[in-house]
């Protein structure tokens, strides 16, 4: 949302940060608390019924490592897209954004496959506390990825309208980049604290 109808003051923005960028940083600060709450709930609950259920037999480290790698690469492409926009190279920007969207969709596909597989194996939201916390946390992360993909698709189409101007849009792309990198970092934490930890 471009809420640039700001009153005329940012010509001396007291912090020298763009208003929208500051808003995104604050949102991400708040989002840290959301994911912090979800992940800590999982860590507290995951050992409550250890004997009835073994996550290591369910998890496939190969698949999750692959989707983690994919997400990291998408972050790399996102960084390239931001840098291209700063240089005003619209074509390179579009190519990289398409890459991010593609990788994001692969990640979501892996997650859908994983969820379907787990449900088939008998782990649902209501099976036990592990299922409840696992699906709620990874699902929330998946929703974040989906929103990011949707956002970037909109941005890709917007880049064809000819309305992208070098200064303003670079800030918008940078903000989308901040969001995307954050979602990736959260995934690294989830990968470690939810998947890898079960194999220790």
């Amino acid at each position: 949302m471009s809420d640039t109808a700001t009153a005329h003051h940012d010509d001396h923005a007291s912090l020298n940060i763009d208003n929208k960028k500051l808003l995104m940083w604050l949102f991400l600060g708040s989002d840290c608390m959301f994911f912090g709450t979800l992940i800590s709930t999982h860590l507290i609950y995951r050992k409550i019924y250890p004997e009835s259920f073994d996550p290591t037999s369910l998890f496939s480290l190969e698949l999750t490592s692959f989707s983690t790698f994919i997400l990291l690469m998408s972050s790399f492409l996102m960084a390239l897209a931001v840098s291209a926009m700063h240089k005003g190279e619209l074509k390179s920007f579009r190519r990289n954004v398409l890459g991010v969207i593609f990788f994001g969709l692969i990640f979501l596909g892996c997650q859908v496959y994983e969820f379907a597989h787990f449900v088939h194996e008998g782990l649902t939201l209501s099976t036990n506390t592990f299922g409840s916390t696992f699906y709620m946390m990874t699902g929330t992360h998946g929703v974040h990825v989906a929103i990011g993909v949707f956002w970037l698709i909109c941005m890709y189409f917007y880049s064809h309208t000819g309305k992208m101007d070098a200064h303003e849009s670079a800030v918008d792309v940078e903000i989308a980049g901040l969001y995307w990198h954050f979602v990736d970092i959260v995934w690294i934490v989830i990968f470690t604290a939810v998947y890898l930890i079960e194999f220790i």
Binding site: H9, S30, D31, F34, Y45, S126, E168
Partner: protein, 663 residues
Amino acid sequence: MSQTETATPAPKTSHGHQPHVLKPERSRLGLMRPDHSKSVFIDWLTTVDHKKIGIMYGAIALFFLFIGGIEALIIRTQLIVPENDLISAERYNQLFTMHGTTMIFLAVMPLNSAFFNFLIPLQIGARDVAFPRINALSLWSFVAGALVINFGWLLEALQLMGLFSASGPTAGMTDLAPSGGWFGYAPLSSKEYSGVGTDFWIMGLQILGVASLTASMNFIVTILNMRAPGMKMMRMPVFTWMSLVVAFLIIFAFPAITIALGQLMFDRTFGTNFFNVAGGGQPILWQHLFWIFGHPEVYILVLPAMGIISEVLPTFSKKPLFGYSIVIFSGAVIGFLGFAVWSHHMFTTGLGKVATAAFSLLTMAIAVPTGVKIFNWVGTIWGGRIRFTAPMIFSLGFVWMFMMGGFSGIMHAAAPADAQQQDSYFVIAHFHYVIMGGIFLALVSGIYYWVPKVFGKMWTGSLSTWVAVLIVVGLNVTFFPMHFLGLLGMPRRTHTYLEGFGWSSYNLVCTLGSYILAIGILLLLVDLIRCLRRGEPAGNDPWDARTLEWATTSPPQVYNFAKTPVIPARDALWSHKHGPEGKKITYEDDHGHGIHMPSNSWMPLIASIGFVPLGLGMTLKQAGVPYMGSFAIFGLFVITLGLALWALEGPGGFHLHPDEDDA
């Protein structure tokens, strides 16, 4: 981003043609209406002006204060004599739940928001908040959340009138209004023990969370980034500082309750096991998550009140605030420690000795910065030339009654004492002294202090004295005996009691006190309405005040300041009026570009309205009402539509060229 716009003499609007230059026109409330082609009603619905949004927040908050007050009066009337059967136990549960929820989320928080909205941009010399349309979105989603929370009452009323019968769409639905307490402890709020009312409660609170989070982010950006030149952080008014701390508290505390409510909703809807003991869940998780939010919430409520006091006391003592930086730092420390004391609400749940001792100590530690503030306020009054106006009287009442609430708070901080006081009327006495005696008095003080600025009209002194006397006497008569009731063992949330415990006479006194309090609050509303209808013109600076909002007209123009002020010092207006040369406010020239102001927009309203069908649809669908799934999807569609049109709307805005004499 707007650097380019200021550099160009005639910036483009979203439509691409030359901007229309409008001359503002005064509406009946004395406020500026920039676009006189629209009706007053539509202008208020679509407004993005922080001042109008502030006034609407205030009006809605006072309405819910009235509703919450009626709920409280029914509760107190039920307890007037032993073994009273005015209302059933179930109704009593609904009343105390909705009383707490309404007062905290729908009365005090929006009243704080009213002050934030109206004052912060004026106090820092800005033309508006950083994101005016997001600000309107916050207001309207607050309204949507309030409607969803209170929808249970509406259904109850319809059922009482016989419009819904046992065979109607609400067949099989029990407990239409929430009844699990404002703290919503699982498993009381789980599916086994509560009906559809709890779903309304969960949904409504989630929507209110959207409102609070967006508003807080908006205000942090505004305060950090939109200050007038020269307005350094340590030159900002204390009220703005306290609001900044509150906004940070909200963005870090609300996620915890959002997740907890989400987990509860999943438990109720999809059969997850978060709080379900049979499935391995633990209800104590709810208490932790709730109070990680709930304790900072106490400071979210009280810090703006402390900010108001720190503005009123210096003005009416004709002295600068004693220890400005210490007041700021102690406010920040209170905010920080607020996150470290949540388990003091859970001393009796058996956390173990180490946790209990740690939280006990931390809770006592929070009394230090609070005490520091009290000393600063006393230091401010000390030796001042005190004027006993209504705002001053209420502020002095705050200092006194908040201190009493604080003392009983320290008593709770000692875990062994708390084990005795837990869930008794002693706790009720404590937090009503803090919330009513403290926060509410400060808010009334703020209302009397700033109403002349908001509407440009002055209240008269005679009625306000009666308001002050009735409210302070009513408060003490109502809540002081509750300390004794608690120590005599009367539990809270009990809908009646037997004769012979020695509780009867105290309860009678409490109830009579609550009637006195109610008359006082009614008189307050009468006084406000009289001020609006028949108040004398107030003038720009009736109090000889110290902060920037008094430097502009009353009521302020739509653009706040015709020229951006440059701030030379702390207490800028005061030094401008009474200080040496060189400490005077200067004004920036706009180089003939005029003032760029945002246009009105329907989109925040449309996007927020969507929350109502979404929330109601989701709750009623799982209660088995037909077509509700589609209703929820319709709500989602409206939200998406609003946001999409918002994105397409573009920045917009128009230019104003104020006359030279409009200061």
